[in-house]
Point group: D3
Chain length 300, copies 6
Amino acid sequence: MILRMDRIPIELPKPKNPPPNAAAAVQELLGGRFGEMSTLMNYTFQSFNFRGREQARPYYDLIANIGTEEYSHIELVAYTINLLLTGTTERGDDPTATPLAAGTDARNTYHFIASGQSAMPVDSMGNPWTGQNVFSSGNLKLDLLHNFFLECGARANKIRVYEMVDEPTARAMVGYLLVRGGVHVVAYARALEHLTGADLSKLFPIPDISNKKFPEAKKLEDQGLHLKMFRWSIDDYKRVGEVWNGPHPEDGQELVVEDTIPQGAPPPDLDAEPQLTAPGVDAEFLQEAAKRLFGKEAMA
Amino acid sequence: MILRMDRIPIELPKPKNPPPNAAAAVQELLGGRFGEMSTLMNYTFQSFNFRGREQARPYYDLIANIGTEEYSHIELVAYTINLLLTGTTERGDDPTATPLAAGTDARNTYHFIASGQSAMPVDSMGNPWTGQNVFSSGNLKLDLLHNFFLECGARANKIRVYEMVDEPTARAMVGYLLVRGGVHVVAYARALEHLTGADLSKLFPIPDISNKKFPEAKKLEDQGLHLKMFRWSIDDYKRVGEVWNGPHPEDGQELVVEDTIPQGAPPPDLDAEPQLTAPGVDAEFLQEAAKRLFGKEAMA
Amino acid sequence: MILRMDRIPIELPKPKNPPPNAAAAVQELLGGRFGEMSTLMNYTFQSFNFRGREQARPYYDLIANIGTEEYSHIELVAYTINLLLTGTTERGDDPTATPLAAGTDARNTYHFIASGQSAMPVDSMGNPWTGQNVFSSGNLKLDLLHNFFLECGARANKIRVYEMVDEPTARAMVGYLLVRGGVHVVAYARALEHLTGADLSKLFPIPDISNKKFPEAKKLEDQGLHLKMFRWSIDDYKRVGEVWNGPHPEDGQELVVEDTIPQGAPPPDLDAEPQLTAPGVDAEFLQEAAKRLFGKEAMA
Amino acid sequence: MILRMDRIPIELPKPKNPPPNAAAAVQELLGGRFGEMSTLMNYTFQSFNFRGREQARPYYDLIANIGTEEYSHIELVAYTINLLLTGTTERGDDPTATPLAAGTDARNTYHFIASGQSAMPVDSMGNPWTGQNVFSSGNLKLDLLHNFFLECGARANKIRVYEMVDEPTARAMVGYLLVRGGVHVVAYARALEHLTGADLSKLFPIPDISNKKFPEAKKLEDQGLHLKMFRWSIDDYKRVGEVWNGPHPEDGQELVVEDTIPQGAPPPDLDAEPQLTAPGVDAEFLQEAAKRLFGKEAMA
Amino acid sequence: MILRMDRIPIELPKPKNPPPNAAAAVQELLGGRFGEMSTLMNYTFQSFNFRGREQARPYYDLIANIGTEEYSHIELVAYTINLLLTGTTERGDDPTATPLAAGTDARNTYHFIASGQSAMPVDSMGNPWTGQNVFSSGNLKLDLLHNFFLECGARANKIRVYEMVDEPTARAMVGYLLVRGGVHVVAYARALEHLTGADLSKLFPIPDISNKKFPEAKKLEDQGLHLKMFRWSIDDYKRVGEVWNGPHPEDGQELVVEDTIPQGAPPPDLDAEPQLTAPGVDAEFLQEAAKRLFGKEAMA
Amino acid sequence: MILRMDRIPIELPKPKNPPPNAAAAVQELLGGRFGEMSTLMNYTFQSFNFRGREQARPYYDLIANIGTEEYSHIELVAYTINLLLTGTTERGDDPTATPLAAGTDARNTYHFIASGQSAMPVDSMGNPWTGQNVFSSGNLKLDLLHNFFLECGARANKIRVYEMVDEPTARAMVGYLLVRGGVHVVAYARALEHLTGADLSKLFPIPDISNKKFPEAKKLEDQGLHLKMFRWSIDDYKRVGEVWNGPHPEDGQELVVEDTIPQGAPPPDLDAEPQLTAPGVDAEFLQEAAKRLFGKEAMA
């Protein structure tokens, strides 16, 4: 069971006149093979499926806890896409004005037909996320190795999307995710090291470029965000610290577990897009509906 | 952002000698078009994508809150599958004994090859869940109508899986989900009624069979579980009560919002399956590894 | 069994210099999840699969009859696409002139490689229509609810494609389909009302914009086209009138069953595209072939 | 546009206690790559997309006309599946009796969960039919060659399904389709011959087994059914005879065009399956509903 | 078993400033339904699956031998794509310079996110190649007919891609493949003729345009390349000549078997793309690594 | 370019009365996500796409060389499937005898309908292999890490299929592939070690069970087969030895490069299956056809 907060991990700057293809590219980080839907669902399923967890509790706690953080990552990417799509077409309620003309040449027409200029579980080519992206073999070493690879692949994708799109909304998001994804890379490497005694620290970074080259990530690493494993639970997953400890493989600083989660920020309020009838109901009508159904005091 | 608890909504009875095809059938309720992955992801994306939410807050709160509950449903179905698969093959570490012979004729061979006899995001035919199952048009009435239909379709699937499988583990799960899914059916109908003034109460139930015909559901409805909208958040989604109110369309009892969530139960500890090397590491080794890496006190 | 006429429901204006991406967008209305392939195949399969039809004949007749009309809708969308693609590349038979250069940047390259600049069973992103789009549960209320939702979703898609593309060919087609699809929305709502007694009329329209806002649709509604259920059979489906009756939920005019079908128009003759060798045989050759094989009189 | 008759091409014998896997196998002939959905949709799209039809009218007429016949083939296969699935589970309205237990081990669980024991647009493995199965290149020779190959591949599939299933319902259907599909094989070969002058008659039959080896087909061929091209239109497609003429390549009898279509038979009335709530409404209720809504005379 | 040479069939000219959409279009010839992955895998599987090969050895040899040649075709198309993508973005190692901006509007974003500006097993719309493209019925006539159709369809695709893209790299590749694919068309026609006695020579060419119209192909046909069946084996497939003989159906020249394969050319050395960290390791580092691990002499 | 030999790596014992579901399970090792189609195509594409190969030649040689060996693995698995399917149905040419009845309950009906009881590029659930299984990022470390993970995942699948199927044909194949796949696991680990200096040897084996536990593999390892990197080229890929050297991580024996390939064995001659018309032509007919077309001497 989960509890949800109406907050996202960081505040996202609002873009001005974003091109719709920026949002199409960012979709790779949401619904692509290496997108956040994949990290979320891989660790979530692996946690459900973990056999013999009493003997291997710290590993179970680690996977479940990271899986929980990934939820905040899908919402961060989704809100980035939503902001990048807001205002990309002409606002108005006259369909004959061809208000969605901009969508016709856009790379992802689903954004304008299937969704109300908003995020979908698809990748940068509009292909849907699929359960085939989930790997859960039951063998702990193999699952950890998979996760280590998945996070490295995800890191490559984030870097490339950063290099494709210079919208500050997108870069703030990627910067944050590079740092947090970096935590997960290290965590799965540490888990493999603990299980086997192998020393994986010389593999870093994969791909061969440091987070420090990305100003939005560097700023956060300067604050030590890459050292912190948040514990995404009130009472559980307390043994993550048995894996998450020791020096960071890139800068040698000490890894720490935080018993809290990021303070975050309220999700952006997304403007209505009347030409898409999204949401299609105006405040006045709703006010009236509420009165009719609940009486005046309900909306007071 | 979410917080996760190491608890599932209800305690699941452990099956004895379950047939592997029972688990294969139950997969429909997890990764099928109308499975819990679909309800979870539909409402989650709709909440991210909700435009004009300030004007329509109660509807936003409703969708976000129900979406949060669905997480507990995917885990409940996943654990049911995991229990139904535990012990379906011959335990042991000698591969020449053909310990997985039972898997060869099983309907879902992925359970034995890709997973460690555990749940996957696939349906009853082994086809993966896909992002095409998510509908998020941005138009509030259309999204609510979709959700109402989705829950009715999900209800039909649950009923039919109940009729296919008589394992108590599966039936306890379906009974619970029929009741909670029933809450969601009513909630989306109420939301449409509030928005439009239409009276949908005469449509119930869809399909034409009452939850009372399912003993595991009836027991919970006798306790009033079908009347309660839990609020799956510490501080947010407080306006769900502006939609969730009035009499239940089937028995006329008053709908209520609970500011807490179900107490639930710890997730079952799944036995190791050594023939699948799941998890593949034994307690002794891990004990030793922990000592080597953290020192004695770490495991104390 | 069916009989086919070499006519389509309305005459389509020929576009001048259409952009190829207009055709790509219109594909959503043919091969998309909510396209006409979906409405055709849903109702067709539901009619084949209808159990207990003797007791519920009017509903069977309704679904079978609407399914039959949908055939005329797939052909209308297909011809729209074909006209929009005709002449989008440079005509000629010299491949070195790169006559298909315009296709390289077009959103749907299948139009230029797999097809001869013509319609395909794919959506606006080029993804193929799939049988997963067919819902046929066997439960009458659930199937009707599905159909009601499907038609509302299809309506949203049509509106949005109208707003993307201002080619008169496309708008004539969408205008007609908005009206006829509107008939189907009402029909499924009426069927649900008859079965259950619920009053769904206040839900209209979904999405929240009237057909009257679309000049091409308004013109047809002014002629009463939204009130008519055509009977697409010489001798059968005569009990549709037991469902299709009463006042229209939006303007209160009386619904009527017509025992005929639209007069329609001959399908447009599509110009050859020699650079695509479509059709690849010239009149002279065929004349000669006919003579050789059948004798002179055959082509007289 | 089409008109539909409430008749199917032949009468199908009702099976007794059919095994559900027979229906699963027959699905290949409906929703498989070489199933009737494919022949229907290939020729239908090719007819919509036919360029330069004025010059090549007989070929257009041929493709459009055969495409129209294919509709009667999808319904014939669908009804076969429906009959084969009727009664495969235990009838009753008590879900606790596990009435669908037989579905758990069945190869196609969608038949029992997604559908009401009825046909779906999927193949023998439950994979959905897809628009990728449609080939429509615009080049006439290539499209005809494709169709010739498609019909030969479809013939192979029919033969093999015949050899898998000995239910008379299935064999009556396959026997009929072997004969009618045989007409289409010959028709496309003739069209290629007419266009090019090549003599394809020595290729027959593909695969290397005669229809005469199948008693249900032989009986129909003895009546000359393999020689007849029905014209599936009241007024159109009249030039099919310019292609469909000359001696049959296997037995040398003269090919003929019939200006009528088969008399056919009423579709079987499918029994209700109450455990699936299919259709879920009983006669009494409907009678009452009709009275309530239409007045007594409506049902008279 | 195979042996591989570090050579490709012809030398490819390097493009200057190629547009990324040229590479996207060429993908159809690699990973499309009629791409070289399909020809390779169809004939490879058919050769593995060939039953009764002792009796039908020449046909087995033919299919296996052509399948072997197809490997050289996938590599030729892959290198064409790789050259067309090289240099399409801005080289450099500063991610903040948005070096991949050109990828955002490119039709195939996978080229810039998933791959290092290189070839993928996908088609011109980015949809992955699938095993559904393989046909292997076991019936020899049917498999040969399929192969004949497949090669004709592949020919149509090559012609159309030629007409879309005027980059000399692409046209050199297509010219070569038109000639070699033409050999395969004739080979499968000859095999069918030998098996059945039918004369298919009048069907040529499909589509209705000669290879001579393509200067890059004409040049090679003037050298007789369309007459040669290379034998892609040191010791095996020696009976291909029992099928590959007689006059070429288009120009009447004698078909010949060559016991050697084309001399070919070394594959192009693809420049590094540092902004993609492809390959991500520089010469200096690797030199150093080699010394560290193997000692100085290893790299000498 | 490649040359092919009419030999497979080892001789496969012929099974007696194999159950068809054994073949269905083995398909996972051919067309599954971790099957040999995946290893073949991953390394093949990575070799085509390798950038900067002059600086990193030993790694290029390694990947290209291993990719070449994988061809021999797909053929070995394919022949295993073919042998396991031979004779699973009733031989004969009378279709009314229902000779394929055994296929109706088989897990993979494609084996009996689409193929002539032979291998297909599908997995154990009949889902087709897809290009999505290919990873080729262009970043050398990331591609190597992927390959290391892929081989470990493939190893897990092989072990599990071994445990499902006790047919000696299948076990001989798996035993061989465990050894050769083990070589590839070590090779990619060594490559990563050379590139980075990390020591991965303690990770072995993944999953946690030694090849020595599998008698068919142990026998081959006792002969040193796990130490040998064959060079699958006459003249190329000579620098593989710069990576493939040092002690084996599990038993410490010295790794060696062989300049030859395995001697192998002729592929099994697969019996005809007349009920499937596979191949559908008898020796007598072919003899006659050869005479007619080539004259007597051709077959001498």
